[in-house]
């Protein structure tokens, strides 16, 4: 299954939730905000949202800036 994560084509072996994808990448809820197919998705929905073909995730966080 192919999805896009921060603009990069990404292949998943099996359907997993957003939560599982974040855990596999070492990201904790509260550290990032996620746009799921263009809409912000609340972290309470990460566990129940299972990724499907062609999904588009933007994983964003605050960095230093002026």
């Amino acid at each position: 299954m192919n999805i896009k994560v921060n603009g990069k084509p990404t292949e998943l072996d099996q359907p997993i939730s957003i939560q599982e994808l974040m855990e596999s990448r070492g990201i904790k809820p509260g550290e990032v905000v996620i746009q799921y197919n263009g809409e912000i998705i609340d972290k309470t929905l990460w566990a129940t949202t299972v990724l499907k073909e062609n999904d588009d995730l933007e994983i964003l966080r605050f960095v230093g800036g002026g």
């Binding site: 605050f62 960095v63 230093g64 800036g65 002026g66």
Partner: protein, 257 residues
């Protein structure tokens, strides 16, 4: 008590801190504490999974007001999108509008900035537009619902100081919103200069971040901002063309001819 009321908040400290370019983000908590910083800007970016960094928010005191910027936006629509995402992070409703297409001087696009201000003020944001100091645009920003107007002193990151002084002075005179000088301030004396003429606050990033001792430089800026503000409140005397003696012009210790 001299309080700055802006964006629905009351501030005692008029030095706003930008958090980019620090050699180590671990310096930031010490700066916030030592200088009593209350407002801090941050940027929103994609997570780089190949080079994961700590979340900047871990370095910012929970009592600080976060002012996410829309850096990276080239249009009003992009700025609005970034602002909405930042607000969804649960960090309050302040946003610094930064819409820039010019990569050499990083000068803001005043037109798109105005458009973004209209959109976001309507959505309940406290909008702080970074702008080139232009009176007509400043009036339009005010009418669009901006919380403050943030004219640049000189191009971002140049440390060239308050080169736009005359134009900023006009904004201070004419616009009944806080005028916050943002960008280009390189030295504490320049921050004091802005405050002396009535700026409501200054936003400093590069000058502190790239100093040999960022903590010491932040304290110097904090003192300068306080000194400049106090001087403004004390109403500086008039500037004159010719000398006017400070000592009496009578009773000299010599015989009059």
């Amino acid at each position: 008590m001299d309080v700055l009321k802006v964006g629905g908040k009351e501030l005692l400290n008029r030095l706003f801190l930008g958090t980019g370019k620090f050699a180590s983000d671990a310096l930031i908590p010490g700066i916030i504490k030592a200088s009593g910083i209350q407002v801090v800007t941050v940027a929103l970016r994609r997570v780089d999974f190949d080079n994961p960094q700590e979340n900047m928010l871990n370095y910012i005191d929970k009592d600080c007001i976060l002012m996410p910027n829309t850096s990276g936006a080239r249009t009003a629509a992009e700025a609005a999108k970034i602002a909405r995402i930042a607000r969804a992070c649960g960090c309050g409703n302040w946003v610094k509008i930064e819409v820039i297409k010019d990569n050499k001087y990083l000068l803001p696009d005043n037109y798109e900035t105005l458009r973004a201000t209209e959109i976001l003020a309507n959505e309940g944001f406290a909008v702080f537009p970074y702008m080139s100091p232009d009176l007509m645009v400043a009036r339009q920003l005010r009418d669009a619902g901006a919380a403050a107007v943030m004219p640049l002193g000189s191009p971002i990151g140049t440390n060239r100081g308050l080169r736009t002084k005359e134009l900023v002075r006009i904004l201070i005179d004419e616009i009944d919103l806080p005028i916050i000088v943002d960008a280009g301030i390189g030295k504490p004396s320049e921050a004091a200069e802005a405050m002396e003429m009535g700026a409501a606050a200054v936003l400093v990033n590069t000058a502190i971040a790239v100093a040999g001792d960022p903590v010491g430089m932040a304290e110097a800026f904090s003192l300068a901002v306080k000194a400049g503000r106090q001087a403004f409140l004390a109403d500086p005397g008039a500037v004159k063309e010719y000398a006017e003696a400070s000592s009496p012009l009578t009773g000299f210790l010599r015989d009059e001819e």
